[in-house]
């Protein structure tokens, strides 16, 4: 077979790969949008469910997801960024720190259901918070902590060492250098990591299965110690519990659409930030 022909076939296969991949993406988005949009209405977005989950809206689930995400963010962002700053700027550069860095990176790849179990054992039972927004937020926060630490560390690492040297050579202290030179430079990377973590937290189900989420909540959550409805869990529950599969499937489509929309918005924000950063550095 001639070289030219082999090349043509090979390259066609590559193009086919990416075409099929994108096809999958569009098929998923297509189905969810077409069938989901039928259910979306103002009522859907703002009203609680009625009639055994077959009518009304999913507002409590949306609110619940918001609360859980907020809680996870409040817990994990400051902790994660500070940890990354310590690991990258303050800690001695010996191999113990390297091992810590490795372990943190690898924890980011641990299955989310493991975090769910951890949350169950520690927050729900040991600390006695019960199935609540608090337990769920903390569990989600710990889920996403390694991701934030990793992403922030990479962003800090990417700041050229010569900038730190230039700052210190001018007589700046270490903290001044971090605050005025390193952090601003690393900010786009850190922000991207944070934003993607938000997306992750909003869409996770396994960690909240045993720690926060319920299928039905009367009204809205009253405190951080109460159970909560959440969009991802709601989708799962609609498909596996309840007695009206047709209507519930339709509602599930609607929830998927909302989740998809949220996630898309978040990804877009991250992409825009990265583009703007590239433009500034020219």
């Amino acid at each position: 077979m001639s070289k030219q022909l082999t090349q043509r076939i090979g390259f066609t296969l590559f193009s086919l790969s990416i075409f099929i991949t994108l096809l999958f993406l569009f098929i998923i988005i297509y189905f969810i949008t077409i069938r989901g949009i039928k259910v979306i209405s103002w009522e859907f977005l703002t009203q609680p469910p009625r009639q055994a989950m077959t009518e009304g809206g999913v507002a409590p689930a949306i609110i619940g997801t918001l609360y859980l995400t907020l809680g996870a963010v409040i817990f994990s962002f400051p902790l994660g960024i500070a940890c990354a700053i310590y690991l990258n700027e303050y800690s001695p550069k010996n191999y113990i720190v390297n091992i810590i860095r490795l372990s943190v990176n690898n924890l980011a790849g641990v299955p989310s259901v493991v975090f769910g179990l951890f949350g169950l054992a520690v927050f729900v039972k040991y600390f006695g918070f019960g199935v609540s927004i608090l337990s769920g937020s903390l569990t989600l926060g710990i889920l996403v902590l390694p991701v934030i630490i990793s992403a922030s560390q990479e962003a800090l690492l990417a700041v050229p060492q010569v900038l730190r040297e230039a700052s210190l050579a001018l007589g700046a202290t270490k903290w001044q250098t971090i605050r005025r030179i390193v952090l601003p430079s690393a900010l786009p990377g850190i922000l991207t990591g944070l934003i993607l973590s938000i997306g992750r937290v909003a869409g996770e189900t396994a960690p909240i299965l045993f720690t926060a989420a319920v299928f039905y909540l009367k009204g809205y959550p009253k405190s951080i110690f109460s159970e909560v409805m959440a969009l991802p869990y709601h989708i799962y529950a609609l498909m596996t519990e309840g007695i009206h599969p047709d209507k519930q499937t339709a509602i599930a489509y609607g929830c998927c659409l909302i989740l998809l929309f949220l996630v898309l918005l978040i990804s877009l924000t991250a992409v825009i930030i990265r583009q703007r950063q590239r433009r500034f550095y020219g």
Partner: protein, 294 residues
């Protein structure tokens, strides 16, 4: 005064960092603590290789081999989908895509990556499963095949982005040298670039597999749920993650079933941790080999 502030900041960061690390260490500790009790009732080998998972029977049986097999089948099936598509896409992006195309395609693939797993599970349940059921005339579309395909699609972005990174690390000078010797683009790719990026691509595969094994919601909704050793891809199966997610809600805290599920979680944790470490190790040696800074 300034020196005092400086030291204060240093201490604040140190304490916060250690607090975070304590939490993360806590995960490992808790897993062990809650998992070990089951091994007083069941020997480790019996647990791992036992063929019968009947945790709710009297007396209960705690053999997770069917669960492990299920995870394995589903993951390997997923690999069959995501490796060709993921690596192929990476090769397209690296070799054939114009910068403009790349700027659009890469974010699109990232979007695929950020779709929540429950949405994939849902899609698998309501679109893919009925489709496959009709296509192959199956009693149910919720089986290992459906799970494999859905998981495979989920893992494509992981494999693609890591493989693409690996390919982009191959220095241009390698390509130029090959062209200068008269090779065309295809030959250069196959004989020079891909072998050089080999370790990086292995990393992508390993991490993709790690992702597939650890996925919970998708397999929970799509794999079917039968804790039986699969004999074909059309069998419904219950991978380890589904077992935990499905059964935890029904067990009482502190019961044997509870501890058994934690033991499964521990094993899962160790497997994925191991995979990730291997991947990290390979990728370091890869960068060293190419002469890049770590």
């Amino acid at each position: 005064m300034l020196r005092f502030k400086e030291n204060l900041y240093r201490w604040i960061f140190t304490i916060i960092a250690f607090a975070s690390l304590v939490f993360l260490l806590g995960i490992v500790i808790v897993l062990f603590k809650e998992a070990l009790p089951i091994f007083k009732k069941v020997k480790v080998l019996e647990f791992i290789f036992g063929k019968y998972w009947y945790p709710t029977y009297q007396p209960p049986e705690f053999g997770i081999f069917p669960l492990i097999m299920a995870s394995l089948w589903v993951s390997i099936g997923a690999m069959l989908v995501c490796i060709p598509l993921g690596v192929g896409s990476a090769l397209y992006l690296n070799e054939l895509a114009s910068p403009r195309q790349k700027a659009i395609l890469k974010p699109l693939i990232e979007i695929l990556a950020s779709i929540p797993s429950v949405v994939y599970g849902f899609f698998g349940m309501v679109v893919l499963a009925p489709f496959l059921q009709n296509l192959f005339n199956l009693p149910t579309g919720l089986c290992a095949l459906t799970a494999s395909i859905t998981l495979g699609i989920m893992a494509i972005p992981t494999v693609c982005s890591i493989a693409e990174d690996a390919l982009s690390y191959v220095p241009n000078s390698f390509r130029e040298a090959s062209f200068a010797l008269g090779a065309n683009r295809w030959e250069t790719l196959i004989k020079v670039v891909i072998p050089s990026a080999g370790s990086g691509i292995s990393t992508a595969v390993i991490l993709g597999m790690s992702r597939a094994i650890g996925e919970t919601m998708t397999v929970l909704m799509v794999a079917g749920g039968a804790a039986v050793i699969p004999k074909s891809f059309f069998d419904p199966v219950r991978p380890m993650t589904s077992a935990i997610a499905a059964e935890m809600g029904e067990t009482s805290i502190g019961s044997d079933h509870f501890h058994a599920l934690f033991a499964i979680a521990l094993i899962l944790f160790l497997i994925t941790f191991l995979f990730n470490i291997i991947a990290e190790f390979i990728s370091r040696r890869y960068r060293l080999k190419l002469g890049l800074n770590i």
